[in-house]
């Protein structure tokens, strides 16, 4: 369960952002909606433990994440939060398998080869394991980044504009995959988007 309370963030020389309180139950799926500049990315970064808010609290399964030391927070994030970015951000020098496997070794979790294989298979990438990122299409790369986000069985899966650079077909696919995989892996799902193609798929909305 994730809860944020009386959260504010003040950018240096920037706007002061206030966020209404938000509770996400286990396995719930949410959309985070808002015009650009409304603080969508800021809120996502705060929830994912990447950006320390000026005040307020973020609790994930009872852990107050901004009370952790920097190093513990890196590890906590690696183990409990899966993040899918707008761009896949894969590491170019590693092949697809290694890119996914990296998630477990960096988070300090024992490598589970079978899980990587089954994740890649369920995302239709079983033939691409030995390929390098520059040999795959955008849609395929986005699926690799979803596999990477899911590898450690996170309790929260966050996707930041995952469909904005994809065509209709791929966008549909990615939304399907995100919702199905989140359900299968018993993770809560938050998708930040302004994409209409996504809006009619998920009912719960948090508006900024």
């Amino acid at each position: 369960m994730i809860s944020i309370q009386s959260l504010t963030h003040q950018y240096q020389n920037g706007p002061n952002l206030n966020f209404t309180d938000w509770e996400i139950q286990d396995e719930e799926q949410w959309l985070l909606l808002g015009a650009s500049g409304s603080g969508k990315s800021t809120l996502l970064n705060i929830v994912s433990g990447l950006l320390k808010p000026t005040s307020g609290s973020v609790k994930l399964n009872g852990t107050e994440i901004y009370s952790l030391s920097l190093k513990d927070m890196d590890r906590f994030r690696g183990q409990n939060i899966g993040i899918v970015f707008q761009k896949p951000h894969l590491i170019k020098s590693l092949n697809i398998y290694d890119n996914v496997a990296l998630a477990s070794s960096l988070a300090g979790i024992k490598l589970d080869k079978a899980r990587i294989f089954s994740l890649l298979a369920s995302l239709g990438l079983e033939n691409k394991k030995r390929n390098f990122p520059d040999e795959l299409s955008q849609g395929q790369l986005q699926r690799v980044s979803i596999a990477r986000a899911l590898l450690n069985n996170p309790s929260l899966l966050i996707a930041d504009e995952p469909t904005s650079s994809l065509d209709d077909e791929n966008a549909e696919n990615v939304i399907d995959i995100l919702t199905e995989q989140a359900k299968e892996n018993h993770a809560s799902l938050v998708i930040a988007t302004h994409d209409k193609r996504v809006r009619n798929r998920i009912s719960k909305e948090y508006l900024l």
């Binding site: 990315s41 970064n45 994912s48 990447l50 950006l51 920097l70 190093k71 890196d74 590890r75 906590f76 994030r77 690696g78 183990q79 993040i83 970015f85 707008q86 761009k87 951000h89 894969l90 590491i91 170019k92 020098s93 590693l94 290694d98 496997a101 990296l102 998630a103 070794s105 960096l106 988070a107 300090g108 490598l111 990477r148 930041d160």
Partner: protein, 401 residues
């Protein structure tokens, strides 16, 4: 997947840059290791060959030339000295041991040294086959001579006039090999030892062969090349050479002093090369630094992603450090390999077998070269590595690049 593997893969992605950097480090290290190896080996050879010899007395001329020709058997002798004067000097009370040398002939470039049994004691020679020379025209050969010239006990060979040329052979008298020395690890491996009488016999006019001479009658007009001298007491170091140089027509040269002088002469060259190598290593450090620094721009996203996936800042710091260290340490190891290989190849093409270099020789200083490699790696990668601490993950990743 550990950070070592990750660093390796990052380096392999920029193969050419990595290659250039490794080669740069390797060249600097190789030059230094060649210098270390060559100067240590030459120094050791010089020392071993002159170990128990306090002084060399020979004809007037360059003292360095006298040492080189009589101890290291490299240069030509300064001339000859009358046997009468030499004998007188050898009986001086300050002299503990004196060994006469008569040079002038060679066999296939190996010098034939006419001497007496004192030479065996002076160099501590041991036989691996046969016996030491005793009569005229008997020869005991060094281990290298036996192998290279394919001579064994009982074989006969003709000496040639001169110290390296085989054109003018003494066809009238053949030497017989009576013994082969064990490997000594010094200049005697490359010498052919015989008695002084044999050398005289080679150079006698033909008609003299039929005339019977007694040793005593001959002594007045006979000559030898030089005498190797061991003092009875260290006190003689000051007096004896001065006595020789002032009161006789001969000159005395100290191997220790002349070797030191020789080293100070070539020392300038070594010093220049050393600074050249240091310069190359400084350039390599800069090159590694610039490559890492430039790649940080591109790597910023990778680093941010890794932070997202749970890597701590210190882990990423080491990731970049290890990239730098991998380059410089592998460069250092490659450099040592090139250094040894180069010395080995130089040794193969060397003409004077007396100072032959080998690549299968290691000195302690090489350990410092590995340390130097580590040090360059640390210096070159510390600033790029510290940059990882400044990467703002949230901002980097939401820029949507």
């Amino acid at each position: 997947m550990n950070i070592l593997k990750l660093s390796t893969k990052n380096l392999l992605r920029n193969k050419l840059t990595t290659f250039l950097n490794v080669i740069l480090v390797a060249f600097g290290i190789a030059i230094l290791s060649i210098l270390f190896l060559a100067s240590t080996q030459i120094g050791n050879k010089l020392e071993q060959n002159a170990k128990d010899i306090d002084l060399v007395v020979g004809a007037k001329g360059s003292p360095l030339q006298l040492i080189l020709s009589s101890i290291y058997h490299i240069d030509f002798p300064t001339g000859n000295i009358p046997l009468k004067d030499a004998t007188e000097l050898m009986q001086n009370p300050m002299v503990k041991k004196a060994v006469p040398l008569a040079l002038g002939d060679n066999y296939q470039g190996y010098r034939i040294v006419g001497t007496d049994s004192g030479f065996v004691g002076l160099y501590g020679l041991k036989l691996s086959a046969g016996k030491f020379w005793s009569k005229d025209l008997e020869a005991t050969i060094g281990s290298t001579v036996a192998v290279e010239a394919k001579l064994k006990v009982g074989d006969k060979f003709f000496g040639a006039h001169g110290l390296s040329d085989a054109s003018d052979e003494h066809k009238h008298h053949a030497y017989t090999v009576t013994g082969i020395l064990q490997v000594q690890g010094n200049v005697t491996d490359n010498l052919i030892l015989t008695n002084i009488g044999s050398v005289y016999k080679m150079h006698e006019p033909d008609h003299d062969e039929h005339v019977v001479h007694s040793e005593e009658a001959d002594i007045d007009n006979k000559e030898i090349t030089s005498i190797l001298i061991q003092y009875r007491s260290p006190m003689s170091v000051v007096i004896f050479p001065r006595m020789v140089n002032q009161s006789t027509n001969m000159q005395a040269a100290s191997p220790a002093m002349e070797s030191a002088r020789l080293f100070s002469l070539i020392g300038v060259g070594i010093e220049t090369l050393k600074w050249f190598a240091v310069l190359i290593m400084a350039i390599s450090a800069m090159s590694v630094f610039i490559s890492l620094y430039n790649s940080m721009k591109e790597k910023k996203y990778d680093l941010a992603i890794m932070r997202c996936l749970g890597a701590s800042k210190s882990k990423l710091f080491f990731l970049v450090m290890i990239e730098g260290l991998l380059i410089t340490v592998s460069g250092a190891i490659l450099g040592l390999f090139i250094g040894h290989l180069a010395i080995q190849i130089i040794g193969m093409y060397q003409e004077s077998a007396q100072a032959r270099l080998t690549g299968l020789y290691f000195v302690n200083d090489e350990f410092y070269l590995i340390i130097a490699g580590l040090f360059i790696g640390i210096v070159a990668s510390i600033i790029p590595a510290l940059q990882t601490y400044r990467v703002d993950i949230a901002r980097t990743l939401s820029k949507n690049k």
